[in-house]
Subunit: 376 residues, 2 copies
């Protein structure tokens, strides 16, 4: 039989039927089911023959002799690449979602978190949002703000409007105007420079040139470093963990636990999010064994890079069992991606990228005011 050939139309149809049914039922699909439920004018015997071929070619397999067939990673792959016709989400959803995102557009952390939340709700799978920290950003503002007699706030703003701050406590009093002067010098020095250029050396130089005592400068240097480090850090939001437990592949708690532990492991998340296989529409998809890691062989991941104003602000990945409703997941992520991009184009000046505040993962500052115009 056909070995390395392309699948003919009929085989594709049957493969599609099998996968569709399996996605719906999560149970091995038999020839009779295909023949009856998806009426294709063929008897079960014929389907059986074709299924035998498909199995030989590695698109499906049977868990045991008297069970139906189950799609393999290869099967899902052709399904996703060649069979699946793009589905559209109900445009009415757009408004609903947009209102949810409305007041978060200015803050990437919250935005990505909200997107992950929505993606999870739309798909009924777990969604992981990762912000795209970027240490290569240039410093836009770098300020010291007096807080009280012996403490001050260090604030770093990069050109993508990420803001981090850190409280510095000193063991001596420092006059506010000294601080402000210092702030001015430091700020002028780094304005427009890449964040990575803020090194100890340069700050030493400032010390010399500006004549600021090194022991005073040091704690601030420290804090600045911390802030920059923080800005470059990705933040991870996991939404809808419990949703996955609703799916029948998690009958055993062990699997459930393994999964939860996996997606709480940062390195693993890194791996998950960065699994490649671009789908052409800006989405990336990795099916079962494809994604290298053994622990992940039972799961598929669909990821979307979210961009605002041309810069990537983060990634949202939907993680589910290989028997995942790819159609819906892809449609959902595509939908959100497009919506967001349209919004960011329209929103123009309104959609000023604001900061995500850095002290924690999860709950951050909200940005409401930025999109309000000043009305004289």
């Amino acid at each position: 039989m056909a070995k390395n050939e392309e699948l003919d139309a009929r085989k594709l149809m049957i493969l599609k039927a099998i996968i569709d049914d399996y996605i719906e039922s999560s149970e091995p699909v038999g020839s009779r089911t295909v023949a009856k439920k998806y009426d294709m004018g063929l008897s079960s015997a014929t389907i059986r023959n074709e299924m035998a071929d498909l199995e030989e070619m590695g698109y499906i397999s049977s868990p045991h002799t008297s069970a139906g067939r189950v799609p393999s990673a290869k099967g899902y792959r052709t399904y996703v690449d060649k069979i699946l016709e793009p589905a559209a989400k109900d445009p009415a959803l757009a408004n609903e979602i947009l209102t949810k995102l409305e007041d978060k557009m200015s803050e990437y952390g919250k935005l990505i978190k909200a997107c992950a939340e929505i993606a999870s709700q739309l798909t009924n799978y777990t969604a992981i949002g990762v912000t795209h920290g970027n240490a290569k950003n240039s410093v836009k503002a770098l300020q010291l703000v007096p807080v009280d007699d012996n403490s001050a706030l260090v604030i770093v703003v990069t050109d993508d409007n990420s803001v981090k701050n850190k409280l510095v406590s000193l063991d001596r009093k420092i006059a506010p105007d000294v601080l402000i002067e210092m702030s001015g010098i430091i700020n002028r020095y780094f304005y427009g420079k890449p964040a990575s250029s803020v090194t100890l050396m340069t700050l030493n130089r400032i010390s010399e040139e500006a004549g600021i005592e090194r022991s005073i400068l040091l704690p601030f240097v420290d804090a600045i470093f911390d802030c920059i480090k923080e800005i470059g850090k990705d933040e991870i939001y996991t939404e809808g963990t419990s949703l996955l437990l609703r799916h029948p592949e998690f009958v055993s708690v062990e699997k459930a636990r393994n999964f939860i532990e996996m997606i709480q492991n940062e390195e693993m998340v890194e791996k998950i999010v960065n699994s490649s296989e671009d789908l052409g529409n800006g989405l990336t998809i990795s099916i079962g064994t494809e994604n290298g890691d053994d622990d992940m062989s039972d799961y598929s991941v669909v990821s979307a890079k979210f961009e605002v104003d041309g810069t990537c602000i983060g990634t949202v990945s939907v993680v589910g069992p290989t028997r995942m409703d790819y159609k819906n997941v892809i449609a959902s992520l595509e939908f959100m991606k497009k919506m967001l991009e349209k919004k960011s184009r329209e929103g123009g000046k309104k959609l000023i990228p604001e900061h995500f505040k850095g002290d924690d993962i999860g709950q951050d500052v909200s940005g409401e005011s930025a999109d309000k115009d000043i009305k004289p």
Copy 2:
């Protein structure tokens, strides 16, 4: 038999044995086990008689005729209140933990998150940390920082060193020195005043007195409100979700899912954390059915309010099955609580600088309603 009487020493011993064993094995405890394993010089028959009494009094119950006995909420309660002798954690742990917390002492959100994380690790149960947002804090610093030509950063610092910032974008250019002047005025005005006093009215007054155009002031007002609202907000950190799934009470995925969904529900968390029954040592404990909610009847919660310099910065709650290792959980939380308090005393000046007490300004409208008022 003894009805409303206190339990005598022997009954207490037996109850303790039953609970200890049940905590360890998670299986109903029989009379033979108690007699043999915890040698108390009594035959199983005698134990049986005593157990019958204990059952009648409601301290234990048997799932079915031929199973051993299981402690009831009432049983656990006497165990916790009367039987449990305080245990101490290994002091060597202290250093390890302290280093973990070291660089988080200045930021309460991170600190509480880290505490919850450690609590979860120490106990092997899920821990929930909730920061204690406090709108009554006074404003310590309130600054506007120029970021670029048409955007500026609003920064609010309260006396417990909570910092929130917000980027404000303007549709016109604003000169840095104007901003700085404005900043100075606003800051002086609110320095030491309670955060709740920052109302629309007062800002209107500033506009008049300082002669700043209202339309310029407005977006900043908005941002300040947002920041204050955020500072007053509680943040929730859930750590070690998957740990609970390690315990045998979660054999069924359903239970696991219910639990996870429960602790991801904010209102539920509120309930969980605020369950009372003070234990005298600053800990609070709620056992099974005690905590009102039906969904929580299978779980127990031990909570500790964490204080730094006399002010409550948040709560860490350990949530586990009623068959929880109370001894260890209580010891762990007590340990952390003490450690933190000691640390905060030692570190004194570094942690919380001076408290500023000022007279209230005018009307005490809450941040929220005031926020509504602003919108044109």
